[in-house]
């Protein structure tokens, strides 16, 4: 049984988003500040006409590539993914990447001790809408609809493909889902419930309807930037006007230190928190954000002076960005000059429930490769006291990073990660 402050090893990572299909490509893309935001194929009368879509991903080609190297995973994936949601395919893709990256492959007898948490809820929005249209036209949904519209189907599909037989479920905490799932897995491992756990941040398939609704609330970027996608997502810039949705999925394999053996520890999850504001609205809350960051530090027996880099929630929403800046300033006070801050969402868009996992991966690759990626479009920062990375990458020499995820409904979650032992 692990002690109260014991770290949890990150041994495998997988990612797919608008700027990358794998970890090395992701590392290069964020270092160079590449973004994936383009016009969406929607009517001109929609308020939201931009987004960061996953490009050129074909699940069949990927599954075929496993045929000789991983015949078991290949055979199961081919069947399970044949008629399901695109989000499930992306989850299977990143989960398999992460398992292979961790050097685990076919899990065999160890599978009983591995947990699986899929982060995100309402993942199948577009699938549901397409089936509603099909039902209206033909009187029948897709034969697998009753399985596939449930988010928990992703847990079943991934557990079958990867033969996982420990505890598992989905965790919904809006945009904080990724961090909330990391929080849960962290405590499962610390408390000895499982020795290993996959945390998958799943891609949410928003419809034009959902995006319009976010625009009505002023959360999604819907104004002048619609005709200028490359400049639309600008966290912490004075001209920020709301989040830009990004498709993406990420997975990390977490393990207790004693289950790693001789395999590579890419980073360590050392702290995590999850707190509510007592509020159901979209409003961010400075006190809740401070509490989340403080509790995450406490859970790793750390203080603000230990942190050298913050991966901000930073959605490019004016109120959200301002509130997070105020929360960081309040907690980090005398240490602000030593803490680099950026938002990966300036590159990937807001990957919603997946963002916590993708941004943990961003923390690990930046810590291990010694850089902080650009804050794209940060032309006129809303705050001059914070050490916000400019539009150019900077060198980073830090041991610990902190990553925020704040969701609608007053859900605040922070994770703290330590650099890998060798890069």
């Amino acid at each position: 049984m692990a002690d109260r402050f014991s770290p949890v090893a990150i041994t495998g990572m997988g990612v797919v988003c608008s700027i990358a299909h794998a970890i090395p490509e992701f590392t290069n893309a964020i270092r160079e500040g590449r973004h994936g935001i383009t016009k969406l194929p929607v009517d001109e009368n929609h308020s939201v006409r931009i987004g960061a879509l996953v490009q050129d991903f074909g699940w069949q080609g990927w599954v075929e590539s496993l045929k000789s190297s991983e015949p078991g995973i290949y055979a199961r994936a081919r069947k399970v993914l044949k008629n399901t949601t695109e989000s499930t395919r992306l989850s299977a893709y990143v989960a398999t990447q992460a398992v292979l990256d961790a050097g685990l492959g076919e899990l065999g007898d160890a599978a009983d001790e591995i947990g699986l948490i899929v982060a995100g809820s309402n993942l199948a929005q577009d699938y549901i809408m397409q089936n509603w249209l099909r039902f209206r036209e033909t009187g029948r949904p897709n034969p697998r609809y009753a399985l596939s519209f449930l988010d928990s189907n992703q847990v079943g599909c991934l557990s079958e493909i990867l033969s996982i037989r420990g505890p598992g479920f989905t965790i919904g905490a809006a945009a904080a889902s990724g961090n909330a799932a990391l929080f849960q897995a962290f405590h499962w491992i610390r408390s000895g419930i499982v020795r290993r756990c996959l945390v998958v941040g799943a891609c949410i398939e928003f419809t034009a309807l959902d995006l319009e609704a976010f625009a009505i609330l002023g959360a999604a970027c819907s104004g002048r930037w619609q005709d200028d996608p490359a400049r639309a997502c600008r966290p912490f810039d004075q001209a920020h006007e709301g989040f830009v949705w990004g498709q993406g999925a990420g997975c990390v394999v977490l393990e207790s230190l004693d289950s790693v053996g001789g395999r590579r520890i890419q980073g360590e999850l050392v702290g995590a928190s999850l707190v509510l504001d007592g509020n159901h609205l979209a409003d961010p809350n400075q006190k809740g954000e401070i509490r989340a960051m403080q509790l995450a530090l406490n859970s790793g027996d750390l203080n603000p002076g230990c942190i050298g880099y913050i991966n901000a929630h930073g959605t490019s929403s004016p109120l959200g960005d301002r509130t997070e800046c105020a929360a960081i300033k309040s907690l980090f006070r005398d240490h602000l000059a030593n803490v680099w801050i950026n938002s990966t969402k300036s590159l990937t868009g807001h990957c919603f429930g997946a963002s916590g996992v993708i941004e943990l991966i961003a923390c690990v690759v930046q810590l291990n490769n010694g850089f902080v990626h650009p804050n794209r479009n940060l032309d006129s920062p809303i705050d001059r006291e914070l050490k916000l990375v400019s539009v150019k990458a900077e060198p980073l020499n830090a041991k610990y990073a902190l990553s925020n995820g704040f969701g609608f409904g007053g859900i605040n979650s922070t994770v703290v990660v330590r650099k890998g032992l060798t890069s």
Binding site: A75, R78, K79, K82, N83, T138, R140, P143, R144
Partner: protein, 84 residues
């Protein structure tokens, strides 16, 4: 289009192969049960629905439950094709 049982079976067979990619064409004969071919309950529904759609047939959902053998499926579809 006139649908005889042979044509209907060809459609059912093609959809069985689509749903169960590990099979080869020779495995799928009229005297087999779908479960013998490795189909689970949801696979069976897929074969039935795809075949209905391809043949442009409407069959009440309640009549589709409990179909196990390919022969029973072909007979059901044939009956509805005739009454169309």
């Amino acid at each position: 289009m006139f649908l005889d049982k042979e044509k209907i079976f060809e459609v059912v067979k093609a959809n069985t192969l689509k749903v169960l990619p590990d099979l080869v064409a020779e495995d799928v004969t009229i005297d087999k049960n779908l479960s013998d071919l490795g189909a689970n309950s949801v696979d069976r529904v897929e074969v039935v629905i795809y075949s209905l759609e391809e043949l442009s047939l409407k069959v009440p959902t309640s009549e589709l439950h409990g179909i196990r053998s390919l022969r029973a499926l072909v007979d059901l579809l044939h009956r509805h094709a005739l009454s169309k």
